[in-house]
């Protein structure tokens, strides 16, 4: 198993209700989640806004510390590991962010952005690895001289992917990485991710609110609603026979580009 999540709870201070003096009350975001991510799986995490899908992703990568429960990464419990103990593991689980404009440093060139984490984790032959990563995401090598603002949205997202795969991770978390893209770039990025997962033997968790995208990419799906898993299933089963009422609602709410679908 790449990941085993057991009864995961996470609460955060609710700053909107913080009294002037004293601590803010806590809101429970994740309310006891249990699921596994097998090696080589492409897991879709789907849910509405505020359902806790990004928080779950961040807890899995230990960008947030769970309040209770357990996160086991490749056999090792990382729930409450210190940052020092986590550091060597961090190379192995990487993240691609939703908004490439804010997750790529505008003052660094693409080459520097991809090289940064490589230096941090003590890789040798960095320039070669940067070039290789650019090849893998289908960007020309001379793009390493460019700044993020010189690229299109789809190209920027490829830089984010290149930065993640350059470290040869075992697991990648992609948080809403195509929701800001046009359909054509979206198709390109999805096809690319599919190929990379196959070729590099990656395990991928793909957070999205878009079930159509999930269906194309993922082989398992977890449906979150208000911090609880309402359904977990293989993709085909989920779409053919959704069991949870919330999953059915989500599916029925998607407008298909088909003038004959009864919808409104």
């Amino acid at each position: 198993m790449m990941y085993q999540i057991k009864d995961l709870h996470l609460s955060l201070p609710d700053m909107t209700r913080k009294p002037l003096l004293g601590p803010a009350p806590r809101i429970e975001i994740l309310k006891g989640l249990t699921f596994d991510v097998p090696k080589g799986a492409v897991l879709g995490i789907v849910g509405g806004s505020g359902s806790g899908k990004s928080t779950l992703g961040r807890a899995m990568l230990r960008l947030l510390e769970p309040t209770a429960g357990e996160v086991v990464f490749d056999g090792q419990t990382i729930t409450h590991l210190s940052e020092n103990a986590l550091r060597p593991l961090r190379r192995r689980f990487q993240m691609i962010f939703q908004d490439p404009m804010s997750s790529l440093n505008p003052r660094r060139r693409v080459g520097g952005i991809i090289a940064g984490p490589l230096h941090l984790h003590g890789f040798d032959g960095v320039p070669g690895r940067v070039a290789e990563a650019l090849d893998m995401v289908g960007l020309p090598r001379h793009f390493s001289r460019r700044y993020p603002h010189e690229l299109s949205g789809g190209q920027r997202q490829r830089v984010g992917i290149a930065r993640a795969i350059a470290l040869q991770p075992d697991f990648i978390l992609a948080d809403e990485i195509v929701s800001g893209l046009d359909v054509s770039s979206q198709a390109q990025v999805l096809n690319l991710l599919g190929e990379l997962v196959r070729d590099l033997g990656l395990t991928l968790a793909f957070i999205s609110h878009d079930l159509s995208v999930i269906r194309r990419l993922c082989n398992r799906v977890v449906v979150l609603h208000q911090g609880v898993i309402v359904e977990e299933a293989e993709t085909a089963r989920l779409f053919d026979a959704p069991k949870a009422r919330y999953t059915q609602e989500l599916l029925q709410a998607i407008p298909l580009p088909d003038p004959f679908q009864k919808w409104l």
Binding site: V183, A187, Q188, N191, H209, V213, R216, L256, P257
Partner: protein, 289 residues
Amino acid sequence: MKSFLSIRNLSVRLKNGSPILRSVSLDVAAGQVHGLVGESGAGKSMIGKAVLGTLPRALSVSGGEIWLDGTDLMSLPPAERRRRIGATAALIPQDPLTALNPSKRIGPQITRRLVDILGWSKQDAQDRALELLGEVHIPDPARVMRNYPHELSGGMRQRILIASAFAAEPRLIIADEPTTALDVTVQKQILRLIADMQTRHGTALLFVTHDLGVVSKVCDTLSVLYAGKVVEEARMHRFFMRPIHPYSAALLAATPTYTDPTGSLTPVSQEVIDGVEAEVAQHDARRAR
């Protein structure tokens, strides 16, 4: 059918001369919904902004006509043009959080336009706002009128903007990606609401979106834009059954649908892009002559 909004060869340019809209023509009849689709940067929002006279400072209309209810807006002096637009048209914006003033209560934000621009009495405006908030299914409208925007959810805020847009009985509404910021389940409620209101009030609706799924649900007709040029204008059913322009067909093929898991997603091919770019260049060359 007589069109309420008729745009003829509208061109918009940047101050440095580069074209943003290239001779766009389209018609929207009363009670009809016309969709504007295209990728980001295609100029779909700019059409709405040109009609409302809210183009960014760096842009200006360089040619063409915008006929609103039988009058060419471009031929009117600016003050008269603004008065007419204010009295007949309204906008449902994309982001309900930036469109509402965070430091003002909801009530005055809806009534202000009625009082200041249309000269209603405060009481009439207040009554009308309450009635509209009820119409857009907001529970306890009197309380919501006293709320601040941050106290409401995204769906509620978008309902308020819809109520606000319909407040002065406009005959044209421009909806600029009104559901992009919302969850799919909320999107469905909001689209149903816009469609209901539009039908009930007989409003002409110009609907800007990048989501072809949404277009197939709310629009009667649509224009597909590429680089500020209309590449295809169609009735909705015909468009989805038989898209004529290769770029339209490519956009449809790139759109994922959960009902079709097997077909691979096809990005718009270079060949199609080259083709449509050539059309744009041809258009520019014709204009330059």
